[in-house]
Structures are given as C-alpha cells and as structure tokens.
C-alpha cells in the first residue's frame, strides 16, 4: 500500500536529511512559498478532510480558520508531542523514523496561519525523538528552511523544541500552554479558545504530531489524493494505529483510515497469540470505551467509531484476551487517571480516587449491587469536571458497565475475582 507518513522510512534507522530531500522532501514547502497564498494552503487542508490525530478529531483546516485575524502581537503554533496516553506510541515511532515530515508540516502550517515562531512540546523520555528534532531543526536552518527569509521568500519561521519534565495533563492543550509559559500546568477555562487567546495571550493553534506531518503530502499531491486513501466515503488519509496486548505482532502500522478493527488484527497484527482469544480492546487509547467482538467490523474512522459507542482517540489499540479480568483492567486505567489528575478541580481530584476505591472493592470481592449504580452516577457526575481528563477516565468505566456487567456481577456474587486462581 502507498503510504504518507512512513513513506520515507528506512529499516531500523532514522531517514537522513539528504535522503528526505532527495526523495522530494521540502518540495511542498518550496511549492507553497512560491505558488500558493497562505489561504490556498489552508483551503487545501480544509478540502483534504484531515481531522486532528491527537484524540478529538477536530478538522485541522477548520481549526486554523478560527484563528483571530488582525490582532496586534504575535500568534503561535504549538505541536503537541506530549503523547502520554497509555497504549499510545505512534508519535514516537514516527519521530524516531522521520522528524522532517513534521518540521516541513510545521513550516507549511506556520506559513498558512501567519506564525513566525512555533514550538514543539515533547514529553520527557522521548530523548531519541527530541534529539532527531533538534538535529533536524539545525539541518533545516543550515539549508535555509527554518529561520529568517525561508528559501528567499520573505517568510520567516523559528522552531523551538521544548522537552517537558513529565506529566500527562500537559497534553491537554490549555495546560500545555501554561506549561510552555513556565507556569504550573493546570488547564485554563475555555472560552476563550486558544485560537482567540492562547499562548502569552496571542492567537494559538495546537496540533498533534501526526496531524501536522500529513500537511506536506496534502500540499504536494492535493486534497483529492489524500481523501482517496480513506476506506469509506467519510474517511480521509491514513492513520497510525499502534497496537499492544495479546496479538501476535505488536507494532505501529500506517493503514487506510476506515479499515475495520478485525482487518487490523487479522492482517498486520497476524491475529491473536497462540493461546489467546479476542475478548475486548481499547480502540483508541486509555480513555476510550471498550470494543468487543461485536465491533469486529466497525470501520476505524472518527464518526463510525463514535456511532459504535466509543472514540477513535489516538489510534492506540490495546487488545485483551479471554484471561483478562475487565474489572482489573478498568481499575488499572482509572488509577492512572486518578494519579495524573492535576488536582485543580474537586470532581476529578476527589471523584476519581472514589471510583478507584469502588472498583478495588469489587475486584477484591467486597462489592455490592449498589456499587454499579454509584459507578453509573459517577459517569455523569464527572462530566462536571474542569477539563476532559476526568471524562476520559470514565470512558473505560462506561465500557465496563455496558459490555461486561455480567462480569462485574460475578465478582459481587462470588465475593472474589473469578479470574484469580
């Protein structure tokens, strides 16, 4: 299959700057600076149907178009490379293989939205990816692709790499802006949205690594070309699916958007492990309600997955086999969120530890029937939290009650976890 994001990949090493250029890299930037107006670049991205790959799936070009115009002072672009969502490792895979697509995408986006200073916010622990990006920025600067007067066009753009010190909430876009400003990374209230008032009060666009890395190919080959990758009419482009768990081959694959869950598992993942049968999966990272066998044929695209009761999220698929206790899995997930809660608002700070406690009681055989109702209440109550972290935490709980209520009841009835020997 033709690829967009992994096209320049070399086996077991990062592509070099010279190879990337020789294979047509940075020709989209050259083309845009020479032939296209910023609005034309933005229009191409709108027409391409590209939707944000950071989790929420917001149309990328449309997000750019919301940017406040004609306000004094600088505007900013931030590439979100925080990637701390459990089960997700696509941005790392991409950046370790090829940092140049992102750098070209950032330059193109900056041109389209009138930004002269962009930041890449990268999590701690991604040292190799950060090193690739720093080297890439230096190489681009040398070649006149970053910095003053890019390719003699009069357009200038700086790119800074900011390496965080580790905290999941920094991936939430408004918390990220506080983190970049050197403040404690609690989220900000929305509105005002970043497009109006973001980093240092200026209009700001926040986009994910994978979203931005798609831009060069869209500009080179056109919106229709990009759309044609989708397996179903609504889908556009490819998606990086990173798979983990009880399948035979765990890796990050670039596949057409809209491919079905079953095709991913039976195809590139080579099916389940020898003694494993598919029981459930997280379709798109830690915050997405479970899929079960009944979802085998759901096309993996934003709307189709949402219609089936979950979210495409990050594309991080975590597969569980028949020996997995779904109460214990859910407990692990909610514990993660409880620990990562930034502590800013009461529903999340107090509510998540309470949910953890309920799940612990059920898992340890001390639950009762009414716990199920209390859990259900909390799915609603946590909607009142300040940011989407708490809501995300309840995704797996929602999935647990929807698809595995019998298993929860079995814990309660038997007074112990049926999976523990």
């Amino acid at each position: 299959m033709e690829q967009i994001l992994f096209r320049h990949n070399k086996p077991n090493r990062c592509v070099t700057f010279d190879e990337y250029r020789a294979e047509g890299g940075f020709s989209a930037l050259a083309k845009a600076l020479k032939e296209l107006s910023p609005d034309q670049v933005q229009q191409a991205v709108i027409d391409s149907g590209l939707r944000g790959r950071g989790g929420a799936g917001f149309p990328t070009g449309k997000k750019w178009s919301f940017l406040a115009r004609n306000v004094p002072g600088p505007r900013w672009l931030i590439c979100n490379s925080d990637e701390m969502e459990p089960g997700t490792y696509k941005d790392r895979t991409l950046l370790e293989a090829n940092p140049y697509l992102l750098l070209e995408g950032i330059a193109l986006t900056s041109y389209a939205i009138g930004v002269s200073h962009a930041f890449i916010f990268i999590r701690r622990g991604y040292e190799q990816a950060a090193a690739n990006l720093r080297r890439g920025v230096a190489e681009c600067r040398q070649a006149g692709l970053v910095g003053e007067n890019i390719l003699g066009s009069g357009f200038s753009c700086e790119i800074d790499v900011h390496v965080s010190a580790g905290r999941y909430i920094c991936g939430e876009e408004t918390a990220l802006m506080n983190a970049l400003e050197g403040k404690r990374a609690n989220p900000r209230s929305k509105p005002p949205f970043p497009a109006i008032k973001g980093l240092w009060g200026g209009p700001t666009v926040v986009n994910n690594v994978e979203s931005l890395s798609n831009i060069p190919a869209i500009i080179s080959n056109g919106a229709e070309w990009f759309k044609a990758f989708g397996r179903i009419p609504e889908a556009a482009g490819t998606k990086l699916f990173c798979v983990s768990g009880h399948v035979s081959t765990c890796a990050c694959f670039e596949l057409p958007m809209g491919i079905s869950l079953g095709e991913i598992i039976e195809g590139p993942c080579n099916g389940m492990r020898p003694d494993s049968r598919f029981k459930a999966c997280l379709p798109g990272g830690a915050s997405t309600p479970y899929f079960t066998e009944e979802h085998w044929n759901v096309p993996m695209d934003f709307d189709a997955v949402a219609k089936a009761g979950s979210r495409l999220g990050t594309g991080g698929i975590v597969v569980f086999d028949q020996n997995t206790c779904m109460v214990a899995a859910t407990l692990n997930l909610v514990r993660f969120y409880a620990r990562e809660s930034c502590g800013w608002c009461t529903p999340c700070r107090e509510g998540l530890p309470y949910v953890v406690n309920l799940l612990e009681e059920i898992e340890n055989g001390r639950g009762s029937e009414e716990y199920i109702a209390i859990l259900r209440d909390h799915i609603n109550l946590l909607k009142y939290a300040f940011c989407a972290l708490a809501l995300g935490a309840m995704g797996p709980v929602e999935g647990l009650l929807k698809h595995f209520q019998d298993e929860v009841r079995e814990h309660i009835a038997k007074g112990k976890c049926p999976f523990k020997k």
């Binding site: 701390m84 089960g87 622990g125 991604y126 390496v163 050197g182 798979v243 830690a286």
Partner: protein
C-alpha cells in the same frame, strides 16, 4: 553555590526565552543534573535566575514527575504500570525488582545507585512490559532480563 560557567549558561538560556519563566523547566533540569536532585539551594538558585519567588519554583518543581525534591540515586529506574504493561504481566515486575534490590518502591538502594519508581506509560507499549533506566528505554522485560540490565547499567556508572 553553583559554578560560574553553569550560572552563565543558565542566564543565557533565560535571556533567549520569550519570557524568563519559559525557561523554568530547563533551568530546574540543569540544576538537578548538577546537584543530583533539586535541593533547597537549587530552588533558591533557580528562583534568582528566573526572577521568581522560591515558592513559585516549588510550585513547578512539585508538579513534574522528573523533578526530584528529595535525594535520589545515581540512576532512576522507572517501571511503567500503565495498561499495556499491566496487560503483559508488568504488574509483578515492580514488586520483584524491589525485592531484588532489597528496597521498597520509592526508595534508594543503600549504595546510592538506584531509586525505584512506578511511572506512567513510557510510549513503548508495543514492547510491554517496559522500564526506563536513566534515559534508556527497555522493553519485553522479564524479571531476569531486568536484573541483567541493572547489572550492566550499574557497571556503566
């Protein structure tokens, strides 16, 4: 007191930032590298360099997973306890490593070599279970493999 060269380096970093506090995480990291952990003295130094109050630095320092406000070993061992690693048998890894090192989770070995901590997803879920020693990522671990890695890491120091 920190060496003049480090001080100049940090002041240069602050000078190139959009606002001084934009450099806060970098400054804390460098000071931590110098002292081994972010000591009270380091907090005071950081606050002077950044033009913040010590309390403002404290507020940042205590927020991040990788800034240590207590003494730690020469190397940090971070064992992922998130879902993919849990799913692939990582749950017992942390406990068994603790037993091997003769410490509880969160403690430092007596020779000051390692501090053992659980941590969130390391972005290596396809090769679960995973740990990070210093800046080095290791996947597809068993306890035996992890113990071998620690042997190698401590002889590299």
């Amino acid at each position: 007191m920190i060496p003049e060269t480090l001080k100049t380096e940090l002041q240069d970093r602050v000078a190139s930032a959009i606002t001084p506090r934009e450099a806060a995480v970098d400054v804390m990291k460098e000071l931590q590298r110098h002292y081994g952990w972010l000591t009270d003295e380091a907090v005071t130094e950081a606050s002077r360099i950044l033009g913040l109050s010590p309390l403002q630095v404290e507020e940042l320092a205590t927020f991040y997973e990788m800034i240590y406000r207590r003494p730690v070993g020469k190397q940090m061992i971070h064992v992922c306890d998130s879902i993919s690693c849990w799913n692939m048998g990582g749950e017992s890894l942390l406990e068994r490593l603790a037993a091997h090192l003769g410490i509880s989770v969160g403690e430092t070995t007596r020779d000051g070599m390692f501090t053992l901590l659980p941590c969130c997803c390391l972005g290596n879920c396809g090769q679960a279970p995973t740990m990070m020693v210093g800046d080095n990522l290791y996947g597809e671990l068993t306890v035996e493999k992890a113990v071998e890695i620690l042997k190698k890491e401590s002889s590299n120091l």
